[in-house]
């Protein structure tokens, strides 16, 4: 048995989600090899070679993989994946984009978004927005799996000494091309890996008021998130959305401000260790999952909180 994990990165740095995905892969048993596909991504390959428990790093460095287009990456991973028992990637928007293509090309099912490894072929995964947990067993010869990174503790980024070998396979296509991207620039920690997250909802009333959250976030070293209602209302961009269809977070501390607590939002944050809810509506469902609830006007509370920290 051997496992191929597809590294998530931006051609410069390895994403923390990969270290957590590696933890899941190691629980499946067998040698764990990592594919780094990208363009000018040698630094990422070097970083992966140092990660604990990685037996080999395979590097596909070509412009065709520079933007992680699903058509190219999917075909490459399917080609390489034939020699493995498991092909595993983080359930990020990149992983979700190309992995089902890998599964279809290998003519196997995909098990999406696993939160626990029961054995080499049996996994737990949330369904119905996390309102039920399914245990599923894959009978496919090659198991194609995406991993909910927040459900696993990262393996150590140091302590490994894997060999690095180049993959020469180049798969390009003339049907899809990268046009451009607008990526959020932020000095704050990444939402999915921050140990503290503070999120605002419709109660924030507008985008400017998110500065109140940011001031508190700066005191706590926290990432700033938002509910779907706040994103749909145009207060903040989509990359800040926490929920079933946005980002799944599980920080040490999650502070929900002016968020009522719709099921779809809870699906994205209820595995946080400690949840604080601040809402002036004492009947808001968010209080049913909060460890600490404060019924008050957020416009009074946020400045006070900033002072108190």
């Amino acid at each position: 048995m051997s496992i191929l994990v597809i590294a998530e990165h931006d051609n410069q740095e390895l994403s923390p989600a990969t270290l957590k995905t590696l933890a899941a892969a190691q629980q499946m048993g067998g040698d764990v090899e990592v594919l780094v596909a990208g363009h000018d991504c040698q630094a990422v390959a070097d970083a992966v070679a140092n990660v604990e428990g990685v037996s080999k790093v395979r590097v596909a460095d070509n412009a065709a993989y520079g933007h992680f287009l699903a058509e190219n990456l999917g075909a490459l991973v399917a080609e390489l994946g034939k020699d493995y028992s498991h092909v595993v990637a983080p359930a990020t928007t990149t992983g979700k984009n190309f992995m089902p293509r890998v599964a279809a090309l290998l003519d196997v099912a995909q098990v999406s978004d696993i939160i626990a490894v029961e054995s080499a072929d049996t996994f737990k995964r949330p369904i119905y927005a996390g309102n039920a947990i399914a245990t599923v067993q894959s009978e496919d010869a090659i198991k194609v799996i995406t991993v909910r990174a927040t459900a696993f503790d990262a393996v150590a980024a140091e302590g490994g000494n894997a060999s690095v070998e180049a993959v020469d396979t180049v798969i390009d296509n003339d049907k899809s091309e990268f046009v451009g991207e607008e990526l959020a620039e932020s000095e704050r920690p990444d939402l999915t890996s921050a140990s503290v997250v503070i999120s605002g909802g419709r109660g924030m009333q507008n985008g400017e008021n998110f500065h109140l959250l940011e001031k508190v976030a700066d005191k706590l070293g926290a990432a700033v998130g938002a509910s779907r209602a706040a994103v749909d209302a145009g207060f903040v961009p989509n990359d800040m959305q926490v929920g079933q269809t946005g980002k799944i977070v599980a920080p040490e501390l999650y502070i929900a401000v002016g968020i009522s607590g719709a099921i779809q939002h809870l699906a994205g944050m209820k595995d946080s260790k400690v949840i604080v809810a601040i809402n002036k509506d004492e009947e808001a469902p968010i209080f049913q999952v909060a460890d600490y609830g404060l019924v008050a006007d957020l416009f009074d509370v946020l400045p006070e909180l900033e002072q108190a920290l």
């Binding site: 287009l69 699903a70 058509e71 399917a78 990020t92 928007t93 979700k96 984009n97 190309f98 089902p100 293509r101 599964a103 279809a104 003519d107 196997v108 099912a109 995909q110 999406s112 049996t122 369904i127 119905y128 927005a129 309102n131 039920a132 947990i133 399914a134 245990t135 599923v136 894959s138 009978e139 496919d140 049907k175 899809s176 046009v179 451009g180 991207e181 990526l183 959020a184 706590l220 749909d232 961009p237 989509n238 990359d239 269809t245 980002k247 501390l253 099921i263 209820k270 260790k273 400690v274 209080f287 049913q288 909060a290 460890d291 609830g293 404060l294 019924v295 008050a296 909180l305 108190a308």
Partner: protein
């Protein structure tokens, strides 16, 4: 241009799901069913393309037992021109659905296939991408904007870091994210009209697809419940608890 939209019948998103006592699955008996919200957005996008004169025909397809015809009628009431049901005994998994859709694509030869990015029951997020691989079509997943051009489409995608735009040559696949559009409500006259629109039924055999399942559902459990904690009186008490009791700051 012909647009094909694939839709799924799922539990209504407002219904609180309950796990069966024997843990075999969730209980769907006597539960309100609906068009998957992401599929509704897919239908809306296709209908808007028709209203703009870009699409000539919108064909909607669903896979499953006879009951899925209810959701096909909903899609017809929203503006699709005709419907296809591929009849199966139960709801097949994503790969089988993608193979059946591939059969429909071969017959219909659409220039654009629009699907929801995921169904809110299984939360798999697989079918559109699998269909892309099987048909060799390029894909624009998690779309928040779809701009048609001559022979190609620009799709703006919601990705973890923000937004990404890709250009795809047609025929292509688009899967919808929440902010692509706001679906309309079906008017009563359109609901009546939808009853007379054509709805064809075909079988998996007609499409020469063997429907099998390689992932077995062993057990379904409710998630670990979080219980409500305590209410604090003010910010001072909150900060004190977070420091000394929860020890997270």
């Amino acid at each position: 241009m012909k647009v094909l939209v694939a839709v799924k019948r799922v539990i209504d998103y407002n219904v609180k799901v309950r796990v069966k006592a024997d843990q075999s699955d969730v209980d769907l008996a006597n539960v309100k069913m609906a068009l998957n919200p992401f599929c509704e957005i897919a239908v809306e996008e296709a209908v808007r393309l028709k209203e703009k004169g870009i699409a000539e025909e919108v064909v909607v397809v669903s896979i499953g037992p006879k009951a899925v015809q209810e959701q096909l009628r909903t899609a017809l009431a929203l503006g699709a021109d005709r419907a296809i049901q591929v009849e199966t005994d139960d709801m097949p998994d994503s790969l089988a659905v993608a193979k059946l859709l591939q059969g429909v694509v071969d017959k219909e030869q659409p220039q654009l296939v629009i699907l929801g990015k995921q169904a809110i029951d299984s939360d798999n997020n697989q079918t559109g991408q699998m269909l892309g691989a099987l048909t060799g079509m390029p894909q624009g997943t998690f779309a928040s904007k779809v701009d048609m051009a001559e022979g190609s489409v620009n799709v703006t995608r919601e990705v973890d870091g923000g937004l990404q735009t890709v250009k795809l040559s047609l025929p292509a696949i688009v899967t919808t994210d929440l902010r692509l559009n706001e679906p309309r409500y079906a008017s009563l006259p359109n609901i009546m009209k939808a009853k007379r629109k054509p709805l064809d039924v075909m079988s998996a055999d007609d499409l020469s697809v063997a429907v099998n399942r390689t992932v077995k559902l062993l057990k379904v459990e409710p998630p670990a419940e979080r219980s409500a904690g305590v209410k604090v009186a003010d910010v001072a008490e909150l900060v004190e608890k977070l420091k000394n009791e929860a020890k997270v700051i």
